[in-house]
Symmetry: C2
Subunit: 343 residues, 2 copies
């Protein structure tokens, strides 16, 4: 059995070591159920959190991550890692959560509205949801903001049927457009997707452009990336392998861009434009983001972890409109009309 | 006829002079229909805009209001007055809008969900909505933010029945609690209400505390004031008189507080706390405020005027929590457990 999941106890112990905190389910539990998807996904999200936090901390020597381990009264908990006011990062949060219990009637309704037909018993459904999610806001306006999220959901219906699906994505929000960076970012994501199926990247790239749309502004939040939800094909194993490839692509997607620009000189006007763009980030997250809205409406959810995604500072100027042909106008163009960065 | 509404042409011409811009309906129209509630309300909101803008501009000699007159393709338009980056005010917006046309099916549904039974013809309803709304964010953390809004709505049902109602309110959001100011503010509002009916202030004070609730934080946005909607009693005339008293109370509610504190010394830490509170203001407005949500979802609405309410700058710190017994903790207490300021 130990060979079947790619290693024995020592291999698992080695993987535990890179975690930022003890996992929510406990090491003993993860070890004893290591063949189950829940445990494999929890390992993956914990490893992703560790890898990303270490990569960022290495870049930003002026700062360290604060690690909060929290519990959820209704079942489960999470680990929030936050770096605030570093030299390179203004606010970087990487959050893991593993929650279980019974879906509320509201949540069941919401899932039904998304096309899921769920057979409940007395209106209640046992579920388990876990994920890693992160937003990194750098100080320098030439270093873009990144967001990623990878999650797994399991529901047991009244008749014992088990439903499961994955969701996730990685997307980039620059203050100024750098085409070389945009290509690098999308190319790295495309390569991760292409290992599994050449249809994934184009589909999930479009989904990302559609999802991160600030309708009242007629703009996307950023230059996109990939986004997907309800992924329950071609098989649980293959879907997991795909999610794993995406998670492994986060650091190579982003870290080279940070390294390249984190010491770029910038003017106060460029910082101001960044702050205005941060305001749009807040607008998207509070008005449209499904995860944020769901979290804010869920009793017992941890507000500080949900709103970790908001920037440290943001700005709203009345009727701000950059001059034609400026670099500020150039990024707006791409936000209004998304481009294909790799073919 | 001219005596009936309290003056002749000269009286009206004199009232027009204090407007910040020509009214949306045009002076000729307002004059010829001066007995109708639509026109009387438009006069009131234009006068309120003029009075408030002049009072603020007089306080803040470093700044002037930008006046934008805009038209709505579907019918009507508005006048937005904004002062940004003044000496005393960081961002002050006073907006008038007068819109008419046909209610969308969505808007009809939303009104039905609020308990209105509307008889439509082919699903469409002619309507007219007008109001003045304003948010004033000062620089000094010892000067509170004020918000007010007074509006009038008319709908003509398929069978010719005319529905109408008023809505509005004035509320205060301090960064630090000053009990004397809180009492002055509420007392001024109470006096305006009491002229009409002693039951109004307690009822609308509670409504305000209930409405400006940031559910996910368990806090109110500020220390309240008054709030009401669907006011269609005791008569159109009396409801209008009440709204007029409220509108006239805005300047005496607020200006003495600004004068008292606008030169108070403050530390960078106090400014920081203000910025965190501004973040909460953004959370309320984008997540809960019915007017903002309605505006953002309405095709053809003027986004810049709707989001004028957002502060120039805001801040989100992870897990910020003021020390026990600090002045920051003291205001939080009142936001969590609203107080009665006048009896």
């Amino acid at each position: 059995r130990e060979e079947a999941d790619g290693g024995g106890k020592d291999e698992l112990a080695r993987r535990f070591e890179c975690f930022m905190a003890p996992p929510v389910s406990g090491m003993r539990e993860l070890r004893s159920r290591r063949g189950e998807m829940r445990s494999r996904m929890e390992m993956l999200i914990m490893e992703t959190q560790g890898q990303v936090c270490r990569a960022l901390a290495q870049l930003d020597r002026g700062a360290a991550f604060t690690v909060d381990r929290w519990e959820r009264k209704e079942g489960g908990g999470g680990i929030s890692c936050v770096l605030q006011n570093g030299e390179i990062f203004e606010k970087a949060g990487v959050n893991v959560s593993v929650v279980f219990g019974h879906l509320s009637e509201e949540a069941v309704q919401q899932m039904r509205s998304r096309g899921k037909t769920l057979k409940t018993k007395d209106g209640k459904l046992p579920f388990c949801a876990m994920g890693v999610s992160s937003v990194i806001h750098p100080k320098n306006p030439y270093v873009p903001t990144i967001h990623f999220n990878y999650r797994y959901f399991e529901i047991e219906e009244a008749d014992g049927t088990k439903l499961w699906w994955f969701g996730g994505g990685t997307d980039l929000t620059p203050t100024y457009l750098n085409e070389e960076d945009a290509v690098h970012f999308h190319k790295t994501l495309k390569e991760a997707c292409d290992q599994h199926n050449p249809e994934l990247y184009p589909k999930f790239k479009k989904w990302c452009d559609d999802y991160f749309y600030i309708k009242h502004r007629g703009e996307r939040r950023g230059i996109g990336g990939i986004f997907f939800d309800d992924l329950d094909w071609p098989s649980k194993e293959e879907a997991f392998q795909f999610v794993q490839s995406c998670a492994k692509a986060i650091v190579p997607c982003y870290v080279p861009i940070v390294k390249k620009h984190c010491h770029d000189p910038f003017t106060p006007e460029e910082k101001l434009w960044q702050q205005i763009r941060r305001g749009r980030y807040v607008e998207f997250n509070l008005v449209y983001d499904r995860g944020t809205k769901f979290g804010l409406a869920t009793p017992g959810s941890r507000i500080e972890s949900i709103l970790m995604s908001l920037p440290l500072t943001a700005r709203w100027e009345y009727m701000h409109s950059p001059p034609e042909n400026s670099r500020e106008a150039k990024i707006l163009e791409v936000l209004r009309q998304p481009k294909d960065w790799v073919h």
